[in-house]
Amino acid sequence: MIVEAGHFAMILALALAIVQATVPFWGARQRDFALMRVGVSTALGQFAFVALAFAALAYAHLASDFSVLNVAENSHSAMPWIYKFSGIWGNHEGSMLLWSLILATFGALVALFGRSLPERLRADALSVQGLIGAAFLAFILATSNPFERLVPAPFGGRDLNPILQDPGLAIHPPMLYLGYVGFSIVFSFAAAALIEGRIDAAWARFVRPFALIAWCFLTLGIAMGSYWAYYTLGWGGFWFWDPVENASLMPWLAGTAFLHSVAVMEKRDALKVWTIFLAILAFSFSLLGTFLVRSGVLTSVHAFASDPRRGVFILAILAFFIAGSLALFAWRAPMLKPGGLFAPISREGALVLNNLLLTTACASVFFGTLYPLALEQLTGEKITVGAPFFNMTAGLLLLALTFLTPIGFSLAWKRGDLLGVAQRLAVAFGCGLALFVALLAFFRGGPVLAPIAAGLAVYVMLGTLSEIVSRLTRGGGKAALSRARGLPLSFWGGALAHFGVGMLLLGLAATGFGSETIATMRAGAPVQVGPYEVVMESVAERGGPNYQETVAHLTVRSGGAVVTTIEPARRQFAARQMATTQAGIATLNLGQLYVSIADPAADGSIPSRLYWKPLVTLIWLGACCMAFGGAVSLADRRLRFGAPARAKAGAAAMAAG
């Protein structure tokens, strides 16, 4: 009964979404405020009903109601509750419902906090958001109904794919979707601005927090996914340039470009048309990512869908929104008035270059991902576009961008002084160069790209710090503390994010200096990996809630003394007859010792791969630092939506009192 109520709630949500897509839009054309405000109530209603539907599915999963097909296929009564819950989105239908829930949540946020917006802009934005919601709810109801019943109900479930039975599944998809779908708001506002034919700094001020939220979650989601792959796939890789990963990287690159250009628009009223274009691009890539993953054109662990009807439906949604928005853009963008002027050497100029490099990197990821699909369709020839291609294109472009990062960050708005910037960055650049030369000399004949990246990383971090110092000590160092408080939070956020880029790059560079040992481990015999000795003490069998595992108990020694212990394991899942590798990881300083084992041989020896990965944690710490920087920017007073309205209301109350 609860399940049917959930299904019904989704139909109601679809009906509300259709009203939300049409009535406020009509109202905005007729300048009828009552009709325009329908958008607010329908957006809230749509959110309530999608949330209800999601709760119903959550109930079915948590209660292990196997009469629901979705639960029977993707759950098992012996699973811990956290996997039962995250199993809701560990399958195609449920994950689309989560998508719609987040979409509706963002719509409701605009409805709640958009009071300070011009009425017509809000009505138009809500109706575009409603249109997206309606498209996806219709998609779920027509092709991927999660509430389908199974008669007769089986006694047990088929279990969740063991690879997905991991805390990673609880965190990674929701974060990624918050990122993907967060850009839908940016998209809706861009479309609304095009429909209205005007756009200004206030628009940028309202959209920027949403873009920041989306970007932070997308950053964390990608980082989380990469760490998940790192510890589950058993060979210590963290980025494969897998099409599904690329699908999440493309909106991130476009979104990063958007965040930078919207800053220009807010501060200087320039780059309007370009900012709108990036807003469209960021969400288009989110839709493309959804299509690539959900349609099953790619077969990988991530692609659960294999029903062509779904692919065609999503392709239709994709084509409609991308073509529609681009057509709207081509038609209306020329009417937008260009804003402030700036010299080529200025903060604005640097941000234009940033945007050029980011979008080119995004384009090369796009071509690399879709080219093999297109070529196979057209000529039947199969090629592979793998890591070497992406490293040579997107990788190089992003390296060039990181070189420019501290320079752009130090340039002044409107007209910059390149010589002054060079002087301020000289120390940072010198340190980076020194590190590069030292590494090259120390590891003679070793990798070349790794020292370059390491030097660049140090230069980015120090360059960011030196900009902070120069801002604080400008005109004497005495008032540094009060000046630190005076600097806007968005400056600190930007500094943190750029510092995070440096950390991430240093972590990536350090992978070139790691070491690997492939050996058969026997009890008591030490194996050398990097600066450590690893000794297998014992092997044990252990039972988990829904699996059996073989655990190797290892001690890590340095100079004879035990530093830590590691327990890599092989897990056997009975319900699906599948095994997974649980790598054993010990974090030592910022590096990690990583051990993964195969099944033990008859004589008790275990074939193993051991890695010493210096500074590897910086990759994910750097990403977290970037996301934290985004969050700090978000707390900036100027960006608090509704702040002016509240201040005005407060002043009015004071005047009345």
Partner: protein, 161 residues
């Protein structure tokens, strides 16, 4: 049919017997040859995986190719010879780095073309903006100075923090 094949392939990847990427017994005794084999494996695709190299893959087909590479390298073949042999057998599909040929020109040129076109677009856009906003005439400059002067006099001076 294709769908069925793909599904079968997918199932195969997931249900691949608990094999293991590069195993100790595969290693060649000569470290120089082994290093060559590792470097070569890193540029070859595991045919049944998603963009994974055979060096990293658990699939048994990847293991077969790893063993094959080592056999051929031990026999004294060069990296190019081994690579050519594998391409003749599995096609360009096995190369993680697509070869430069007419079909892939567009792919390899995509990044430089985007960069070039983007740079051109920016150049023309900035020129157009500069033309669209002509410099102020002498009269306008004078008026602006007057307005600015009045505003500066009216505005209370900012207290220094």
């Amino acid at each position: 049919m294709r769908k069925a094949l793909r599904l079968a392939l997918f199932a195969f990847v997931l249900a691949a017997p608990a094999a293991f990427a590069v195993q100790p017994d595969e290693l060649l005794p000569d470290p120089a040859l082994e290093a060559r084999a590792r470097a070569l494996s890193a540029e070859l695709r595991c045919l049944v995986c998603q963009n994974q190299s055979i060096d990293d893959s658990d699939a048994s087909l990847a293991k077969d190719i790893r063993v094959l590479i080592r056999e051929r390298i031990s026999k004294g073949e060069s990296n190019d010879e081994v690579r050519d042999f594998l391409v003749s057998r599995y096609g360009d599909f096995i190369l993680l780095k697509p070869p430069l040929k007419p079909e892939t020109w567009l792919l390899w040129l995509s990044a430089p073309l985007t960069l070039g076109l983007g740079a051109l677009a920016i150049f023309y856009a900035t020129r157009r903006t500069a033309v669209a906003t002509p410099a102020l005439s002498a009269d306008e400059e004078k008026r602006l100075a007057e307005i600015a002067g009045v505003a500066a006099a009216e505005r209370p001076r900012k207290t220094k923090r």
